[in-house]
Protein backbone atom coordinates (compact mmCIF):
# COMPACT_ATOMS: atom_id res chain seq x y z
CA UNK A 1 0.00 0.00 0.00
CA UNK A 2 1.28 3.41 -0.92
CA UNK A 3 1.78 5.73 2.03
CA UNK A 4 0.10 9.02 1.18
CA UNK A 5 0.89 10.79 4.41
CA UNK A 6 1.86 10.05 7.98
CA UNK A 7 -0.87 12.41 9.13
CA UNK A 8 -3.79 10.10 10.03
CA UNK A 9 -6.33 12.72 8.98
CA UNK A 10 -4.93 12.71 5.46
CA UNK A 11 -4.25 8.97 5.34
CA UNK A 12 -7.89 8.36 6.18
CA UNK A 13 -8.98 10.25 3.09
CA UNK A 14 -7.77 7.33 0.97
CA UNK A 15 -10.52 5.20 2.54
CA UNK A 16 -13.25 7.48 1.23
CA UNK A 17 -15.38 6.19 -1.64
CA UNK A 18 -14.66 7.25 -5.21
CA UNK A 19 -16.17 10.54 -6.17
CA UNK A 20 -18.66 8.85 -8.44
CA UNK A 21 -20.16 6.94 -5.52
CA UNK A 22 -22.84 8.89 -3.74
CA UNK A 23 -23.00 8.47 0.02
CA UNK A 24 -26.60 8.53 1.15
CA UNK A 25 -27.29 9.19 4.79
CA UNK A 26 -30.69 7.87 5.74
CA UNK A 27 -33.00 9.93 7.92
CA UNK A 28 -31.84 9.74 11.56
CA UNK A 29 -29.07 7.31 10.64
CA UNK A 30 -26.62 9.62 12.34
CA UNK A 31 -27.43 11.64 15.41
CA UNK A 32 -30.00 14.39 15.15
CA UNK A 33 -29.07 18.06 15.15
CA UNK A 34 -30.94 20.16 17.69
CA UNK A 35 -31.03 23.95 17.92
CA UNK A 36 -30.58 25.14 21.50
CA UNK A 37 -32.43 28.10 23.03
CA UNK A 38 -31.43 29.50 26.38
CA UNK A 39 -33.48 31.57 28.83
CA UNK A 40 -31.75 33.57 31.55
CA UNK A 41 -34.77 34.54 33.62
CA UNK A 42 -38.37 33.39 33.63
CA UNK A 43 -40.47 35.75 31.55
CA UNK A 44 -37.61 36.93 29.33
CA UNK A 45 -37.14 35.62 25.80
CA UNK A 46 -35.25 32.47 24.87
CA UNK A 47 -32.13 33.18 22.84
CA UNK A 48 -30.66 30.87 20.23
CA UNK A 49 -27.20 29.87 21.45
CA UNK A 50 -26.05 27.04 19.18
CA UNK A 51 -26.59 23.39 18.31
CA UNK A 52 -25.97 19.95 19.79
CA UNK A 53 -26.01 16.49 18.25
CA UNK A 54 -27.87 13.81 20.16
CA UNK A 55 -29.82 10.61 19.53
CA UNK A 56 -33.01 12.07 21.02
CA UNK A 57 -34.42 15.16 22.69
CA UNK A 58 -33.76 14.01 26.25
CA UNK A 59 -30.06 13.44 25.57
CA UNK A 60 -30.00 16.73 23.68
CA UNK A 61 -31.15 18.48 26.87
CA UNK A 62 -28.32 16.84 28.84
CA UNK A 63 -25.73 17.91 26.26
CA UNK A 64 -27.21 21.39 25.89
CA UNK A 65 -27.08 21.88 29.65
CA UNK A 66 -23.35 21.14 29.64
CA UNK A 67 -22.53 23.10 26.53
CA UNK A 68 -24.63 26.21 27.04
CA UNK A 69 -25.84 26.44 30.63
CA UNK A 70 -22.77 25.72 32.70
CA UNK A 71 -21.78 29.31 33.20
CA UNK A 72 -24.00 32.27 33.94
CA UNK A 73 -27.62 32.28 35.03
CA UNK A 74 -30.06 29.90 33.35
CA UNK A 75 -33.65 29.14 34.17
CA UNK A 76 -34.83 27.18 31.14
CA UNK A 77 -33.59 25.46 27.96
CA UNK A 78 -35.36 24.50 24.76
CA UNK A 79 -34.08 22.04 22.17
CA UNK A 80 -35.75 21.95 18.77
CA UNK A 81 -34.90 19.62 15.89
CA UNK A 82 -33.10 21.71 13.27
CA UNK A 83 -35.18 20.04 10.57
CA UNK A 84 -38.32 21.48 12.15
CA UNK A 85 -37.13 25.01 11.52
CA UNK A 86 -38.70 26.61 8.46
CA UNK A 87 -36.39 29.20 6.95
CA UNK A 88 -36.31 31.64 4.07
CA UNK A 89 -33.97 31.02 1.18
CA UNK A 90 -30.75 33.04 1.13
CA UNK A 91 -31.30 33.52 -2.60
CA UNK A 92 -34.44 35.41 -1.70
CA UNK A 93 -32.82 37.69 0.85
CA UNK A 94 -33.55 40.64 -1.44
CA UNK A 95 -37.14 40.47 -0.22
CA UNK A 96 -35.89 42.22 2.90
CA UNK A 97 -34.42 45.16 0.97
CA UNK A 98 -36.79 48.12 1.05
CA UNK A 99 -36.53 51.20 -1.04
CA UNK A 100 -35.64 54.25 1.04
CA UNK A 101 -38.34 56.60 -0.29
CA UNK A 102 -41.19 55.39 1.92
CA UNK A 103 -40.53 57.29 5.09
CA UNK A 104 -44.21 57.18 5.95
CA UNK A 105 -43.61 53.49 6.82
CA UNK A 106 -41.19 54.42 9.56
CA UNK A 107 -42.02 55.65 13.01
CA UNK A 108 -39.40 58.39 12.79
CA UNK A 109 -41.37 60.00 9.97
CA UNK A 110 -44.14 61.12 12.27
CA UNK A 111 -43.29 64.20 14.28
CA UNK A 112 -45.42 63.37 17.31
CA UNK A 113 -43.10 64.70 20.00
CA UNK A 114 -44.40 68.26 19.62
CA UNK A 115 -48.00 67.14 19.77
CA UNK A 116 -47.37 65.11 22.93
CA UNK A 117 -45.59 68.03 24.58
CA UNK A 118 -48.44 70.35 23.64
CA UNK A 119 -50.98 67.94 25.08
CA UNK A 120 -49.03 67.60 28.34
CA UNK A 121 -48.73 71.37 28.58
CA UNK A 122 -52.43 71.84 28.10
CA UNK A 123 -53.21 69.16 30.71
CA UNK A 124 -50.84 70.82 33.16
CA UNK A 125 -52.63 74.11 32.79
CA UNK A 126 -56.09 72.69 33.30
Amino acid sequence: MKIISLDPRIARLSDLPEESETVIVEHEEGWITFEVFHQKKKGTRHTHVGIVHAPNAEMAIVFAKESFARRGPTTNLWVVKSEDVVATDYDDSDIFDTTPDKQYREAGFYKTRNKIDLLKDSEAHE
Binding site: A54, P55, N56, E58, F63, E66
Partner: protein, 255 residues
Amino acid sequence: MSNPEYTNAVKEFLYKMADDQLIIGHRNSEWTGIGPILEEDIAFGSIAQDKVGHAYNIYQLLHEMGEADPDTIAFQRDEKDFKCCHLVELPIGEYDFSLVRHFLFDHAELLRFEMLSNSSFEPLANLAKKFKGEIKYHVFHANTWIKQLMNGTEESKARIQSSFNSVFPIAFSIFEKSPLEDVLISEGVFEGEEILTNKWLETIRTIVNSCGVKLPDVPDKSIGYGGRKGYHTEYLNPLLLEMTEVLRSEPGAEW
Protein backbone atom coordinates in the same frame (compact mmCIF):
# COMPACT_ATOMS: atom_id res chain seq x y z
CA MET B 1 -25.17 19.49 72.44
CA SER B 2 -21.50 20.19 72.95
CA ASN B 3 -20.76 16.80 74.49
CA PRO B 4 -17.72 15.16 72.88
CA GLU B 5 -19.56 12.03 71.76
CA TYR B 6 -22.03 14.12 69.75
CA THR B 7 -19.24 16.14 68.13
CA ASN B 8 -17.29 13.00 67.28
CA ALA B 9 -20.35 11.34 65.77
CA VAL B 10 -21.03 14.37 63.56
CA LYS B 11 -17.40 14.70 62.47
CA GLU B 12 -17.13 11.00 61.64
CA PHE B 13 -20.32 11.28 59.59
CA LEU B 14 -19.10 14.38 57.73
CA TYR B 15 -15.75 12.74 56.96
CA LYS B 16 -17.30 9.65 55.40
CA MET B 17 -19.64 11.67 53.20
CA ALA B 18 -16.98 14.14 52.08
CA ASP B 19 -14.44 11.39 51.40
CA ASP B 20 -16.99 9.59 49.19
CA GLN B 21 -17.46 12.79 47.19
CA LEU B 22 -13.76 13.52 46.83
CA ILE B 23 -12.84 10.02 45.72
CA ILE B 24 -15.75 9.54 43.28
CA GLY B 25 -15.01 13.04 41.97
CA HIS B 26 -11.39 12.13 41.36
CA ARG B 27 -12.32 8.80 39.78
CA ASN B 28 -14.88 10.30 37.41
CA SER B 29 -12.47 13.07 36.43
CA GLU B 30 -10.24 10.33 34.99
CA TRP B 31 -12.65 10.26 32.02
CA THR B 32 -11.65 13.79 31.04
CA GLY B 33 -10.44 13.73 27.46
CA ILE B 34 -11.37 10.09 26.85
CA GLY B 35 -15.16 10.17 27.34
CA PRO B 36 -17.30 8.46 24.69
CA ILE B 37 -18.31 11.69 22.94
CA LEU B 38 -17.34 15.32 23.41
CA GLU B 39 -20.50 16.54 25.17
CA GLU B 40 -20.53 13.55 27.52
CA ASP B 41 -16.86 14.07 28.26
CA ILE B 42 -17.74 17.61 29.37
CA ALA B 43 -20.81 16.44 31.30
CA PHE B 44 -18.99 13.74 33.25
CA GLY B 45 -16.07 16.06 34.03
CA SER B 46 -18.49 18.73 35.16
CA ILE B 47 -20.30 16.31 37.47
CA ALA B 48 -16.92 15.22 38.87
CA GLN B 49 -16.12 18.87 39.63
CA ASP B 50 -19.45 19.24 41.44
CA LYS B 51 -18.51 16.27 43.64
CA VAL B 52 -15.15 17.75 44.54
CA GLY B 53 -16.99 20.98 45.34
CA HIS B 54 -19.33 19.13 47.71
CA ALA B 55 -16.32 17.52 49.40
CA TYR B 56 -14.74 20.96 49.79
CA ASN B 57 -17.89 22.37 51.41
CA ILE B 58 -18.06 19.53 53.93
CA TYR B 59 -14.33 19.71 54.69
CA GLN B 60 -14.79 23.45 55.25
CA LEU B 61 -17.55 22.69 57.74
CA LEU B 62 -15.19 20.25 59.50
CA HIS B 63 -12.56 22.98 59.56
CA GLU B 64 -15.04 25.30 61.28
CA MET B 65 -15.49 22.52 63.86
CA GLY B 66 -11.75 22.55 64.62
CA GLU B 67 -10.33 20.14 62.03
CA ALA B 68 -7.47 21.00 59.64
CA ASP B 69 -8.12 23.19 56.58
CA PRO B 70 -9.76 21.55 53.52
CA ASP B 71 -6.54 21.22 51.47
CA THR B 72 -4.73 19.52 54.33
CA ILE B 73 -7.66 17.18 54.95
CA ALA B 74 -7.94 16.30 51.27
CA PHE B 75 -4.28 15.91 50.37
CA GLN B 76 -2.29 15.15 53.48
CA ARG B 77 -4.05 12.33 55.26
CA ASP B 78 -2.97 8.71 55.33
CA GLU B 79 -5.07 6.10 53.56
CA LYS B 80 -6.36 4.71 56.87
CA ASP B 81 -7.76 8.14 57.80
CA PHE B 82 -10.00 8.17 54.73
CA LYS B 83 -13.54 6.93 55.47
CA CYS B 84 -14.83 6.52 51.91
CA CYS B 85 -16.71 3.37 50.87
CA HIS B 86 -15.26 0.71 48.59
CA LEU B 87 -17.65 1.51 45.73
CA VAL B 88 -16.04 4.88 45.00
CA GLU B 89 -12.49 3.52 45.11
CA LEU B 90 -12.81 1.04 42.26
CA PRO B 91 -11.09 1.94 38.96
CA ILE B 92 -13.24 3.52 36.25
CA GLY B 93 -13.33 0.38 34.08
CA GLU B 94 -15.31 0.65 30.85
CA TYR B 95 -17.87 3.42 30.46
CA ASP B 96 -20.80 1.12 31.30
CA PHE B 97 -19.19 0.40 34.69
CA SER B 98 -18.65 4.09 35.46
CA LEU B 99 -22.21 4.96 34.39
CA VAL B 100 -23.82 2.26 36.51
CA ARG B 101 -21.70 3.26 39.52
CA HIS B 102 -22.70 6.89 38.92
CA PHE B 103 -26.38 5.85 38.74
CA LEU B 104 -26.31 3.79 41.95
CA PHE B 105 -24.17 6.28 43.88
CA ASP B 106 -26.06 9.42 42.90
CA HIS B 107 -29.49 7.99 43.66
CA ALA B 108 -28.18 7.31 47.18
CA GLU B 109 -26.76 10.85 47.32
CA LEU B 110 -30.03 12.47 46.29
CA LEU B 111 -31.99 10.59 48.94
CA ARG B 112 -29.31 11.10 51.60
CA PHE B 113 -29.23 14.88 51.14
CA GLU B 114 -33.01 15.06 50.93
CA MET B 115 -33.07 13.41 54.37
CA LEU B 116 -30.29 15.69 55.62
CA SER B 117 -32.13 18.85 54.59
CA ASN B 118 -34.20 18.17 57.75
CA SER B 119 -31.18 17.48 59.94
CA SER B 120 -31.10 18.92 63.46
CA PHE B 121 -27.48 19.90 62.73
CA GLU B 122 -28.25 23.14 60.96
CA PRO B 123 -25.00 23.72 59.01
CA LEU B 124 -25.46 20.29 57.43
CA ALA B 125 -29.13 20.93 56.64
CA ASN B 126 -28.05 24.14 54.88
CA LEU B 127 -25.40 22.32 52.83
CA ALA B 128 -27.96 19.68 51.87
CA LYS B 129 -30.25 22.38 50.49
CA LYS B 130 -27.33 23.95 48.64
CA PHE B 131 -26.34 20.66 46.95
CA LYS B 132 -29.92 19.74 45.97
CA GLY B 133 -29.98 21.15 42.42
CA GLU B 134 -26.63 19.69 41.41
CA ILE B 135 -27.42 16.20 42.68
CA LYS B 136 -30.84 16.32 41.04
CA TYR B 137 -29.09 16.98 37.74
CA HIS B 138 -26.55 14.19 38.36
CA VAL B 139 -29.44 11.76 38.80
CA PHE B 140 -31.20 13.09 35.69
CA HIS B 141 -27.97 12.58 33.73
CA ALA B 142 -27.54 9.02 35.04
CA ASN B 143 -31.18 8.07 34.39
CA THR B 144 -31.04 9.44 30.84
CA TRP B 145 -27.98 7.39 29.97
CA ILE B 146 -29.20 4.15 31.54
CA LYS B 147 -32.53 4.52 29.73
CA GLN B 148 -30.77 5.37 26.46
CA LEU B 149 -28.42 2.40 26.58
CA MET B 150 -31.17 -0.02 27.68
CA ASN B 151 -33.10 1.08 24.59
CA GLY B 152 -30.04 0.63 22.39
CA THR B 153 -28.39 -2.40 20.81
CA GLU B 154 -27.99 -5.92 22.16
CA GLU B 155 -24.44 -4.99 23.12
CA SER B 156 -25.40 -1.87 25.04
CA LYS B 157 -28.12 -3.73 26.94
CA ALA B 158 -25.80 -6.62 27.77
CA ARG B 159 -23.06 -4.30 28.99
CA ILE B 160 -25.37 -2.28 31.24
CA GLN B 161 -26.89 -5.47 32.69
CA SER B 162 -23.47 -6.96 33.26
CA SER B 163 -22.29 -3.83 35.06
CA PHE B 164 -25.38 -3.89 37.27
CA ASN B 165 -24.51 -7.50 38.12
CA SER B 166 -21.03 -6.55 39.26
CA VAL B 167 -21.62 -3.08 40.77
CA PHE B 168 -24.93 -3.57 42.61
CA PRO B 169 -23.53 -5.83 45.39
CA ILE B 170 -20.63 -3.45 46.10
CA ALA B 171 -22.97 -0.45 46.10
CA PHE B 172 -24.14 -1.57 49.53
CA SER B 173 -20.78 -0.41 50.87
CA ILE B 174 -22.28 3.12 50.65
CA PHE B 175 -24.60 2.21 53.49
CA GLU B 176 -22.01 0.93 55.94
CA LYS B 177 -22.84 2.73 59.19
CA SER B 178 -20.35 5.05 60.75
CA PRO B 179 -19.38 3.67 64.19
CA LEU B 180 -21.32 6.32 66.16
CA GLU B 181 -24.49 6.25 64.04
CA ASP B 182 -26.77 5.62 67.05
CA VAL B 183 -25.85 9.06 68.38
CA LEU B 184 -26.74 10.67 65.05
CA ILE B 185 -30.14 9.00 65.06
CA SER B 186 -30.97 9.83 68.68
CA GLU B 187 -29.91 13.47 68.21
CA GLY B 188 -31.92 13.84 64.98
CA VAL B 189 -28.86 14.51 62.82
CA PHE B 190 -29.57 11.65 60.42
CA GLU B 191 -32.29 9.01 60.25
CA GLY B 192 -29.73 6.27 59.61
CA GLU B 193 -28.29 4.18 56.79
CA GLU B 194 -30.93 1.47 57.09
CA ILE B 195 -33.80 3.80 56.27
CA LEU B 196 -31.72 5.28 53.46
CA THR B 197 -30.94 1.82 52.04
CA ASN B 198 -34.63 0.94 51.88
CA LYS B 199 -35.57 4.21 50.20
CA TRP B 200 -32.74 3.72 47.70
CA LEU B 201 -33.75 0.15 46.88
CA GLU B 202 -37.32 1.23 46.29
CA THR B 203 -36.31 4.09 43.99
CA ILE B 204 -33.77 2.28 41.84
CA ARG B 205 -36.00 -0.82 41.56
CA THR B 206 -38.74 1.29 39.97
CA ILE B 207 -36.35 2.88 37.49
CA VAL B 208 -34.37 -0.18 36.46
CA ASN B 209 -37.56 -2.25 36.08
CA SER B 210 -38.95 0.35 33.69
CA CYS B 211 -35.70 0.16 31.65
CA GLY B 212 -35.56 -3.64 31.54
CA VAL B 213 -32.57 -4.11 33.83
CA LYS B 214 -32.77 -7.14 36.07
CA LEU B 215 -31.55 -6.13 39.51
CA PRO B 216 -29.41 -8.86 41.14
CA ASP B 217 -30.37 -10.24 44.54
CA VAL B 218 -29.64 -8.08 47.55
CA PRO B 219 -26.29 -9.41 48.83
CA ASP B 220 -25.19 -10.36 52.30
CA LYS B 221 -24.74 -6.84 53.61
CA SER B 222 -21.17 -7.32 54.77
CA ILE B 223 -19.89 -7.23 51.16
CA GLY B 224 -17.50 -4.34 50.63
CA TYR B 225 -17.61 -3.14 54.24
CA GLY B 226 -14.59 -1.66 56.00
CA GLY B 227 -14.20 1.70 54.28
CA ARG B 228 -15.93 3.58 57.10
CA LYS B 229 -13.35 2.18 59.52
CA GLY B 230 -10.37 3.01 57.30
CA TYR B 231 -9.90 -0.41 55.65
CA HIS B 232 -9.79 0.07 51.91
CA THR B 233 -9.41 -1.77 48.63
CA GLU B 234 -6.03 -2.01 46.96
CA TYR B 235 -7.15 0.74 44.57
CA LEU B 236 -7.37 3.65 47.00
CA ASN B 237 -3.70 4.12 47.76
CA PRO B 238 -2.57 4.46 44.11
CA LEU B 239 -5.39 7.00 43.63
CA LEU B 240 -4.21 9.03 46.64
CA LEU B 241 -0.61 8.92 45.41
CA GLU B 242 -1.68 10.19 42.00
CA MET B 243 -3.95 12.87 43.47
CA THR B 244 -1.15 14.25 45.66
CA GLU B 245 1.73 13.76 43.20
CA VAL B 246 2.16 17.42 42.29
CA LEU B 247 1.76 18.56 45.89
CA ARG B 248 4.44 16.13 47.07
CA SER B 249 6.85 17.20 44.33
CA GLU B 250 7.11 20.66 45.89
CA PRO B 251 5.70 20.64 49.45
CA GLY B 252 4.57 24.05 50.64
CA ALA B 253 4.73 25.64 47.18
CA GLU B 254 2.65 28.78 46.72
CA TRP B 255 0.07 28.57 43.92
